[in-house]
Amino acid sequence: MASKVMSMQEAIASHVHDGDMVAIEGFTACICFAAGHEIIRQGRRDLVLCRMTPDLIYDQMIAAGCARKLIFSYLGNPGVGSLHAIRRAVEKGIPAPLEIEEYSHFGMVSRYTAGAHRLPFYPLHSYTGSDLPRVNPKIRFVESPYDGEPIAVVPPLNPDVVIIHAQRADREGNTHLWGLLGVQKEAAFAARRVIVVVEELVEEQVIRSDPNRTIIPSLIVDAVVKEPFGAHPSYVQGYYDRDNQFYLQWDELSRDETSTQAWLEEWIIAVKDRAEYVQKLDASAWKRLSPGEAFAEPVNYGRYA
């Protein structure tokens, strides 16, 4: 198979279009800020953004005016507080009104799962007694044909593009991911197009040495981007830690629309790519964020020839 390796610029230009439904997934870990920044730089508009936890990256993209709608389950700066830019959009329509479609975490997980498994709906024990179904008509109930009891269901979610950040992949996009797995596998299989962004490109043989670790197969991948530190300020298990100073800093600066726009200008618009962003960061950051080593115990798959 031909290599799918390309630059982030090419990947976003080829696969993310105005009006697309886009999900940059990753639950607190492996959030591909590099892709979000490139989408802002390329000036995408009218996106429908999906993510369980919009986190700072969607706060930035919404502040930059990329999105018309947000599908989500938890709007927070994790462990810190509010997402001020999204709150401004929802509460006051600044910079523009934002349509929202809201679920619980398990509801979002179930939507991706239904999308990935090509199911018309996915059942879950949730929403009974909650006001959420009153404000989201897509949350419905069906009766079990066995005991007649109702159970909540959600419809499939099939984004146009899903962007996943991981530790390593080969040039075709066979991807090893470890640590928190979030909803990445389900989101990627639900997608029409998949962009995989990795810390390291490796030989196919590295992937084949541990096939149980392959969360995303080349079959569903359209582009592979090598972008070290591409998840900063979030973290990549075994590679770097969350840069909590930035999460705290964003909490301060994003309270004000002017300082928010100034930050976007300085750190995204005026920056060419992730390599330049990494250079612009305090060099000591990477030292501070570097974890110690803790290797998995060996596993023998055996040769059967």
């Binding site: 938890y74 997980v109 909650s130 959420l132 797995l181 999460y247 803790a294």
Partner: protein
Amino acid sequence: MTHYTRNEMMIVTASRALAGTRTVFVGVGLPNIACNLARRTVAPYLELIYESGVYGARPARLPLSIGDPTLVSDALSVCSMQDLFGLYLQGGRVQVAFLGGAQIDRFGNLNTTIIAGAAGSLEEDYARPKVRLPGSGGACEIAIQAQKVFIIMRLSKRGFVDRLDFLTGPGHLHGGDARDSLGLPGMGPQLVVTDKCVFVFDQESKEMLISSLHPGVELSEVQQEVGWQVQTAGELKQTAAPTDEEIHLLREELDPQGIHIG
């Protein structure tokens, strides 16, 4: 006896409620410290479950969020969120879950979605909220599915309200056998730990009752911060103060930087 803060009092009280518990669904912040304290005191076999996909975490530092890498390193198992919510929570494997919220009512129903403006209808208030809160996260299904729910919230009139602006996670709904009649698998809220007192729920009516006051707190102080006429559960007790050992564990081992206990 060592002097202690209100947060320390809350944490210690919550940790003691976990005596004998095997599995707890943990949020970050106060519940995380309470659970780690319980492991060292009243619940040595307690396993911590995080919605991010972690079972049996052994955090080497205070996690910064519910998905901190320190929760993964040295955990017993790390799985997808589909598995975590499906196999652990919905599978009925979670004995106790901690929840909190911006608003709670007398039946332990929680709101983490919006603070309403003046629009008047739920749908309009939702569309144009005065304050947009984080939303459910996992709270809606946790409230429905966990065997027992323990709530940690600071006592305040803004929080303990007569009527929620939005019902995000169901407690005992309108009370009585409301949960059972809707077939909700979990037993719902069993305990509300605040910085001033502890509430339990009446067996029949499922209404919140003051069970004990923290040392030095007067009943009127509690009444004043609750938006409905709250009753007591039999004879009012005093919450047992933290022991020196508990305070020592909190300050020396669990939160040496004083981020949450201060």
